[in-house]
Symmetry: D2
Subunit: 430 residues, 4 copies
């Protein structure tokens, strides 16, 4: 096979013509890989990072092509090493095999990570890569290598939990405003309210990205479990004394780094935050979320009767009087959706997958819990409380993964059973 056709196969298309700045960067990368590891020149790394940063979007695409094609392992050498290992699975053969299969890209990325700022560049590189991965399936190998390394470097053991409050630096607070993905922050005043005495906010940080939150969570300390999110978001709501609270409501959790997609921290964050809160407020009795049900409305449109859906076509349907029958039906359908709609063996709803997989229990559905435009569009306005019962989290987590069982309160389970779809299914089964 000719080199050109080999590259074409790797990329799934003809490689792009390479411009001058990309050529220079590739030459720097080659020089970096040629160094003996121990002495790899800090100057060379810094030059390569600077050259990469200076590339425009088109040149970066060319550079990704080069990364995808130049630094993959040789099929022939791999095959020979695999055969030797098959003939005799000795440590020496295993070592040779691992060396043969590891793309040189990985070593390149490791060396780029040595310089100050290297980690940030690599996280940013993956973010860009992911944006255009669909159109460039040949880049998947780069993504695989970057994700592999980033998973290792962003090992949970390297993260530190920090409380975010009004004493936090503006450079970090500004990023919270910018990143918040669940309930957008309306400027500094809104942020300040979210950091008052009856709120808590925590984030994970990594030593190499000191001013960049990796993931953060917002908590409201309340009496009783919140059923509606708008009061929590009201900038002018009065601040309640936190010592009277008996619930910690997790009302927003945001992954900040698109470049770390698929490397998960939320599970650990929730557990560490629950512990930190428990130790600050020993009288807290419940750790619960007030969560959206992002896939409900879409599922509804495919599964509910047309007659039920008709009134919902008016975007203001919830403003006026709502027929009790409609509310009852929607709530039952929502319970059914959360408990029975599946993707493989897990719930179809992404947020449900996350919290139930973490060991939370599905506790309560809240009619008109989020009456914002987005809340109506995604969840027909319904919100759900997942509760983290600290003593049952482990048990629920195991049951979820081993037996695909969902922990749900009796009342939610009952709603689901009352749903016509449920009764139809039973009849079908009978």
């Amino acid at each position: 096979m000719s080199a050109a056709s080999f590259l074409a196969r790797l990329l799934g298309r003809e490689p792009r013509a390479i411009e001058r700045p990309v050529e220079k960067l590739v030459a720097l990368c080659d020089a970096l890989l040629a160094e003996s590891g121990e002495y790899a020149s800090a100057a060379l790394v810094a030059d390569a990072l600077a050259a990469y940063r200076a590339l425009d979007e088109r040149c970066r695409a060319q550079f990704f092509d080069a990364l995808a094609t130049r630094y993959s392992p040789s099929p022939e050498i791999v095959a020979a090493a695999a055969a030797a290992y098959q003939a005799e699975p000795s440590p020496a053969h295993l070592e040779r095999l691992q060396e043969a299969t590891e793309p040189a890209r990985q070593e390149l990325f490791r060396r780029l990570n040595m310089a100050p700022g290297g980690t940030a560049v690599l996280v940013g590189m993956r973010q860009e890569l992911l944006k255009k991965l669909k159109q460039n399936p040949g880049w998947r190998a780069i993504d695989f290598d970057l994700k592999h390394l980033l998973r290792s470097w962003f090992n949970r053991g390297f993260l530190r939990l920090e409380r975010i409050d009004w004493r936090t630096s503006a450079i970090v607070l500004e990023k919270l405003i910018q990143y918040e993905a669940v309930h957008a922050v309306q400027g500094w005043r809104d942020l300040r309210r979210r950091l008052e005495a009856d709120r808590r906010c925590f984030a994970f940080f990594h030593p190499q990205l000191p001013d960049e939150p990796i993931i953060f969570i917002e908590v409201a300390l309340t009496r009783g479990m919140s059923s509606q999110v708008q009061p929590l978001l009201d900038v002018d709501s009065p601040v309640s004394p936190p010592q009277n609270a008996d619930c910690a409501m997790f009302y927003s959790i945001t992954n900040c780094q698109e470049g770390l997609r698929g490397i998960s921290f939320g599970n650990l964050l929730i557990k560490q935050v629950a512990e930190a809160l428990k130790s600050e407020f020993p009288h807290l009795r419940r750790f619960a979320t007030l969560s959206p049900i992002p896939g409900f409305r879409r599922w509804l449109e495919q599964n509910a009767e047309a007659a039920l859906m008709a009134p919902l076509e008016d975007p203001a349907w919830h403003m006026g009087e709502i027929p009790p029958h409609l509310e009852k039906q929607l709530i039952r359908l929502c319970a059914f959706y959360l408990l029975n709609a599946k993707q493989g063996q897990e719930p179809l709803d992404a947020v449900a997958r996350f919290h139930l997989g973490n060991g939370a229990a599905l506790e309560r559905l809240n009619w008109l819990g989020d009456a914002s435009e987005q809340g109506m569009a995604r969840s027909a306005g319904i919100m759900v409380n997942y509760v983290y019962w600290l003593t049952e989290v482990e048990k629920n987590h195991v049951a979820y993964f081993r037996e695909h069982r969902i922990a749900a309160s009796p009342s939610v389970a009952k709603l689901a059973r009352e749903c016509p779809l449920s009764q139809a299914a039973e009849k079908g089964a009978a």
Copy 2:
């Protein structure tokens, strides 16, 4: 091939019988690997680390056997993945190949690294492994995996340089006393002298090992380049005003973590320390070492004439009057040794390889530079100054690696040429 004989091949001997605590630990490791990565239980990791810590030496050997045999890739699956990749080197095949060849051990170690203290356990594990690697060649695969991961986690970008002085915590200072490998520290008073105003000490630290220096270097600020180490080590020597110094003498550099053997930090440390010193004392004109020549005496015994060596058999030969001829010959031989004795294309002397590879120049030999017992035994008392000329470091480094050329001062080069071995070689060549 039967499972037993397969294991025997992997280990290079029959596997040991496994005792109860090891069985339990292996079960924990299996459970940990069975988890979905995103949710891997912190409790499970903590249990596994505790179980490992509790093992005695015999049980640890059994556990290493298990690590070597249980978590290696399947030769059959590897062979299939290699064949597919050879047939079509697509990203998907490459991904499958990498997944097939990565030992499950690596994922196990990554998960163990998630808990607080995990990194320290893994560094300690490798230290123990290395101690008995010769007798257990089957463990090499474990070492390969641990080193691979530790290199990634101890990436230079993650290290921070810290100055060590009398304001440093006792927990760290105590470790300096314990670890110093070049010129042993005689208790707190000795250490204190080494941290006075005319000295500097720097170490690298890693965020996961906050109280553990990774590598440290001791520097004396002097007028003129030091030729003897004993005055530098004299606890009662007067402290000179550092602003009068024109030389920074690097007189000791110690790698602290046996478990990180083969992962090199010295090169970077010297360069960062030189920069830090230059910025604190802009008038410093020379950054030089006062180094041992650890392999000289051994080489001498194999290469010098018996007549020359005879007087050296008396351990006190250097105490009385030394015949000028003897001094002259030893110095010439030493220059020859450093410039011409080779291991492959690099110098035979390990310290020379390190500094010359870093880009230093061989500047001066010092007769009776280290008259301690150890200094006489290893280097016949001679010490060498390597100089780091900041503007030539890069050039020297490149010349060393590309052309195997050693930067040496004219006077050292002359001494080497005057050595009889050198003249013999030339005659031989003629």
Copy 3:
């Protein structure tokens, strides 16, 4: 003299009737003073601080009356101690005299200062006192004692200089927005521009008021000395690379704590900031202010001819074309004002007194340097550059205080001489 008439004399009026909460607080203060100092109860201090904080404005006035009347030294005991000291000025008599004359208030304030938050309460107390001092001349003794103690506690040696930037905590940044007294900050965006790479901001902090700046200064790094303040305040102005700057322009300096009025930090702040800047940017050639001339317009109205002043009555006089004659005359009058208008032997202008007393030199007048409403109203739009020539600051300072000499550039001196008032004065003298 009856007690009542004595109190009336102390206060300069009848004392107010005292309400219940004030009675309780006074009782706490008495109990606190009754304690032996070594054991003064932390609980008592905390109770007294809480009781004070809970008082409303009217009660506070009653409490100030009590402070003014209850805790002053006894005239009889003072007289006896003074007589004894006059008869024999021994250490014992001096000690007795000092004890007799120190108001018990001082010890009370010292004890209130022992508890966490005590310093902040006392600074706040003086702020309130000062607001109503004119109407309550009897409170002057309290102010004297508070100022005496605060001067001691806010000793310069206890202050630490901190750089303020976008990494500073929001709690401090918010206070900058609130306190800035020279050129008001228009929200977070404006503040952020003032903390960009071509700006510097520094503040003094005291260990007992960790989140409270005491005084802060804003600096712009510029090429050439700024002549107009509006471009510096423009939120949308481009950020220039600071390494190209040759001037540090001090364009705003704000005392934050009204309760520390009369305790001066500005002199030290400017000098420490100049040193910090010089060490960060060794190529800076000039440290200068761009200052308002707050008393000029008022002085002008009293001293300039009516004909000159007539056009200025139109608030928009500077918007259209300005007759060259008017500009020339105003500039000359301003130079004359700064150099010759006096309050005692010092300049009449408060900002001039501050910078010239610090050792700065009057360098340049800037026509329409501040065209804001406030700038026109106070300074007829003119601004002045004072320059801190680091090598002449000490000399200027001494000349200013010993000989009342003002360091001024030849061009400003010439403008002053050209002023008609100056020529009139000379004629008068002739």
Copy 4:
């Protein structure tokens, strides 16, 4: 009165001739006082501090003479101000009076305190002064002023409590070794034992003396109340798990700064440490001391029968068998001493005064609690436990100061009553 005889009266003797360096320093002090406070030159302060530091012992004595004589208030001005105040006690007259009576020395010290290191110099100055105060009664006025200011600057509110452990910097730990005044530390190994997991050590620090502990306390966490100090001091004693402890034994408390003599921190330290320990170990049931009785043996010699004292003349009397009668009598006498021997209305024993004044209760006497040479010489080997019952501390403290009542356990009270001296007293009373 002539100036010379006036000075002689102030000093209580002829003033010393003044040498050149002292003259220079006095001139610097005069210049410093001549400055307007706001602008007091940092350079002048630094010069004066350096000049003082450079003085030898003889010159310092001359400087102290100058301080005592030059900077005292004028008797005439004081008398006039006192008369005016007596005639009309207005705020203005009070202000003038306070200004007239404050020695210029105080302002001098305040200005010296402005520069970095000033506080340390002043603390050191008072330390030197105190050493020779007896021979130089004329210096008492200096001491009075220094103490007055230091009390203000070392206000408790400015101190921060810090835990001392093996993570503390060597520069601080070294000072603990040097300062420990109750049970001397035998080098680093001994110190390390005192900082192990079953011990706690806390110190107060002041922001201006960052590396200098002001006072520190050593605590052992034990099961049951310790009765003997030697086991606590044993370097080779095993470390017990702190979570099993039910007592916190305060076995040593040391004031570090001789220059702060008479400014008390111990009371606050004990209370803050008790709170910190209670929060770390909620199951601690008792906070007690194991204290020496430093005045007992001296008192014994004056108050006990000769027959009883005779055996004690042998320094090794406690090594052999001790007659039960002797032990019983000594213990009773000790109880009597602690409860009944007085200095004014407080206990004669200094340590008893401190702990009982703080609100502790006299709980138990321990025969041979300190069998060291010093323990035998001062306390006849007996030690005492004072207990801080957290709920009764305030009550005991009040009873001690108001009613001179000592809180003692029934058993100690009984021992005191059984003492022959007690019975003699009763008989006398009857």
